[in-house]
């Protein structure tokens, strides 16, 4: 047994985030009482530098290290960039909200940063062990964040529910992994892929595959493993909801691609049918249940389920183009969801969560600029051209039509029309329902700038989507 020195330089982004997390922990201990401003800025600084580091050290490479358990490639790099950028946005939205409620402590950002670390590990995982390690790190942080406001009973309940269900699904995933390990005699994804392609021990692999798919679907929140989404979205503090709803979805794409494409891609025919059921179910349940919600966080929760259904279309196609479409979908969805929750945060005050759809009433009278931002975001979620949501839908539809599954595309667009209704209802509140008593909105400049930038990004990517599409394509071309 020889000991090989791992190439640490490849994993520089993760190492950097981890060290900074430790620094923040210590700094925050000593700098308490000043609203943790230092911790916040340090975390944001870390996220931005990680974007740079990831591109610098990993773009254009395909190399493994740590005895083949860690891979640095374009896919991982793009995911890390997206995760960091989105989390940066989310934290920028969160700060003011937490401060108003006297919940602003460094722990929040620290937990978030560790969650980011977990997601980055998932993105770079090249063995079942690394996948699981990253996943558990994310989930532990998420549990704690959902329960962040201890006084809040709804939040605690949501956290408990989330914990139990997530533990169950992790168990499933692990069980599936153990079977795959049994079949392949290896944890290494490349070896598993080789075994899967050779067609040996097909039955065992198929069993493992099913359990893994269940676990992955749970992390996405796809039907029928979606039960936790509405409760967690509604119960958690709004900043936590945004956090849960954006970056982890991208990490879930990583989970899917690493396990089911890099690892078990040869069994595409077998998981395609399961994924189809999941996708159609998600589209149906997500869109239909969202129609009747009155709470905007819960509505966006169901809408997430519907979007996951769309995202799965890309996986179902099973082509490189399809996977890149799914990745594009996840990234842009994160951007849109972050903005939508950002508006909810903007409207809320202490003692008033603004989490009912009705609370959007008269936004146009109160501030026409934010009304436009909300308008763009809602139409983008609907998938209207001119916004990035259109390209997201278009790419996944195209990928299923290219593999001759036109019926699936038709089903998807019909549900998209149904989905349009509840987004329009928000626009209706913003624009059509006038409210004279609404006082002008006040928000710190930082929040306003970030929100405006978010809205503009959705619009700009909707008009010039090429660079991001290309990046997703290149990332999956390997």
């Amino acid at each position: 047994m020889t000991f090989e020195m791992p190439d640490f330089s490849l994993a520089l982004p993760e190492i950097w985030v981890l060290s900074m997390a430790c620094v923040v922990l210590v700094v925050d201990l000593f700098a308490r009482g000043r609203e943790s401003a230092l911790a916040f800025h340090l975390v944001q600084f870390t996220l931005l530098t990680t974007v740079w580091l990831s591109i610098e050290t990993q773009w254009g490479l395909t190399a493994t290290t740590f005895s083949g358990t860690y891979v640095a490639d374009k896919f991982a790099c793009l995911l890390k960039v997206a995760i960091c950028v989105l989390t940066f946005l989310v934290f920028a939205y969160s700060r003011d909200y937490l401060r108003k409620r006297e919940l602003l402590r460094g722990d929040f950002f620290l937990l978030g940063l560790l969650g980011v670390l977990g997601m980055m590990i998932m993105a770079s995982a090249h063995s079942l062990l690394t996948v699981y390690l990253g996943l558990e790190l994310v989930e532990l942080c998420l549990f704690a964040m959902v329960a962040y406001d201890r006084e809040n009973r709804v939040g605690s309940e949501a956290a408990m529910k989330y914990f139990v269900l997530a533990a169950l699904s992790s168990g499933m995933l692990l069980y599936g992994m153990s079977m795959v390990y049994g079949a392949a005699q290896s944890l290494d994804l490349a070896q598993i892929a080789a075994i899967a392609a050779s067609g040996e021990s097909g039955l065992l692999l198929a069993f493992g595959l099913t359990f893994i798919l269940v676990g992955v679907a749970f992390k996405f929140g796809a039907v029928p493993f979606h039960m936790w989404i509405p409760d967690v979205y509604q119960g958690a503090l709004t900043p936590v909801t945004v956090y849960v709803g954006t970056a982890p979805k991208i990490a879930a794409v990583a989970l899917f691609v690493r396990l089911l494409v890099d690892g078990l891609g040869a069994l595409h025919d077998q998981w395609q049918i399961m994924a189809t059921i999941i996708a159609v179910g998600s589209l149906a349940v997500g869109n239909l249940f969202a129609l009747v919600q009155t709470n905007i966080k819960r509505m966006l929760g169901y809408s997430t389920i519907a979007h996951v259904g769309f995202l799965f279309l890309g996986f179902i196609a099973g082509t490189e183009e399809g996977y890149s479409a799914a990745l594009f979908y996840a990234i842009t969805y994160g951007l849109m969801a972050a903005g939508a929750f950002g508006v909810v945060i903007l409207l809320s005050r202490r003692g008033f969560e603004a989490d009912l759809i009705e609370d959007m009433k008269g936004l146009n009278d109160r501030h026409s600029g934010f009304a436009v931002v909300m308008l763009i975001l809602m139409f983008s979620l609907t998938g209207v051209p001119g916004t990035v949501g259109f390209y997201a839908k278009w790419l996944v539809l195209k990928s299923v039509i290219d593999v001759n599954m036109v019926w699936l595309a038709v089903v998807a667009v019909i549900f998209a029309v149904i989905g349009a209704f509840y987004y329009l209802r928000v626009v209706r509140m913003v624009y059509f329902d006038r409210r004279n008593d609404g006082e002008p909105l006040e928000a710190p400049a930082g929040l306003r700038v970030v929100l405006a930038a978010n809205g503009l990004a959705v619009l700009a990517l909707g008009i010039f989507p090429d660079s991001l599409i290309m990046a997703c394509k290149v990332a999956l071309a390997g």
């Binding site: 146009n364 026409s368 308008l375 139409f379 609907t382 209207v384 051209p385 001119g386 259109f390 278009w394 539809l397 195209k398 039509i401 290219d402 036109v406 595309a409 038709v410 667009v413 019909i414 998209a416 029309v417 349009a420 209704f421 329009l424 209802r425 626009v427 209706r428 624009y431 059509f432 989507p465 090429d466 599409i469 290309m470 394509k473």
Partner: protein, 502 residues
Amino acid sequence: MLSLLIWLPILGGALVLAAGERSQGATARWLALGTGVVVFLLSSVLYFGFEIGTSAMQFVERVAWVPAFDVYYYLGVDGISTPLILLTTFATVLVIIAGWEVIQYKQTQYLAAFLIMEGLMVGVFSALDAILFYVFWEAMLVPMFLIIGIWGGPNRIYATIKFFLYTFMGSVLMLVALIYLRYQTDSFGILDFHGTALALSEQILIFLAFLVAFAVKVPMWPVHTWLPDAHVEAPTGGSVILAAIMLKIGAYGFLRFSLPITPAASMELAWLLIALSLIAVVYIGLVAIVQEDMKKLIAYSSVAHMGFVTLGFFVIFDIFAHTNGTESGGGSAVMALEGGVVQMISHGFVSAALFLCVGVLYDRAHSRLIKDYGGVANRMPIFAAFFVLFAMANVGLPGTSGFVGEFMVILASLQGNFWYAALAALTLILGAAYTLWLIKRVVYGEVANAQVAALTDLNAREFIVLGVLAGAVLLLGIWPAPLIEVMAPSLQHLLQQVIATP
């Protein structure tokens, strides 16, 4: 050139919004009007610079837009789209003037919405890339959705959501069809789609997907039900744009997509389209008679008139079947298409004018119900003269623009099937019935009540708007040749494509 026509109004709209934030109204209004007029003048350059006698695309612009998927920013116009672009820029100017004093609530947003929509509509008419077309086609819904929803009547929210969902439903299926066509032809160019060899069953599915999209927009019976609601609730300007241009976009879609891309399916299903058109013409005509709301009446009359357009487009197959492709048959078929397009333009003027007339009354008396009026001519003689003129054009009186299109379509369908022509001609009577009855009850007679007695005649602004429209209606009625000249080669080319393929 075309880019300028698309982006100048959109930019203008953004500027109007920005100006409105600072000053109150006046600057923004003049800015909006200025933009509208400049765009209209630019579009007339398009008309005069248009080379007559060729069916090729002109003023072409082609730049790679999303190279990852071969999507081009590809614009160009032919004889079909040029008149429609002119109509768009013309109507927008009128709408801006019409909303000058009437709109009080958030006027700058109102004007900006119309300018942005103008740019998007010009985009629809000039896009030659399927995805670009779809982008404009869908994006156009957004300002209209807001216009009806914000400045509409009491039931506006129901109407606008219905409007959006109907049209959205139609267009997503079209998107699927477009992506499928790309899969077949390896290009998103609309011209590349033309003449693609597709099996009949494929063609029929694609045709149906297009049909849903375009039939909703036109609207054809039985998917017309969003239109009366949307019209009744929309502000005057919204109704004008809706009737004058949005409906034409559906008909334009038939010419640009359905007929040339799926000719065999069009032939196969022409009976269906003709049947739907005739139902629209006759049944909706009857429905129009019993309306009590003026706007609703005009909305139903729009559905009936658009029935003529679609009849003209799809009767060509019958004409060919009947005349066995002889010279005269070809002439009649072209005439049917020409008649349809002329009817589109004419209806754009006439329906816009009628909606503006109702708007004039509504601004004064705040009612759209016929029974609240009577004897308006006694108090508003100039207005009454205009109203009667436009009503006559709606009926299709010779000398007005309404006559030309309807006459051409009826004459041509006579070559196809006598009964089509007979049923279509019936609409002249029905149209006369509901329009003249409307006029009788609203304009003539004794002064009905105090409200009517208090009416004042047109002010200068309204006079200009209606006067310009009256001029257009008469000009097109007496001398339609310049219009027909522009579009004839393109329609002939279209006809060859349609007939050659099967």
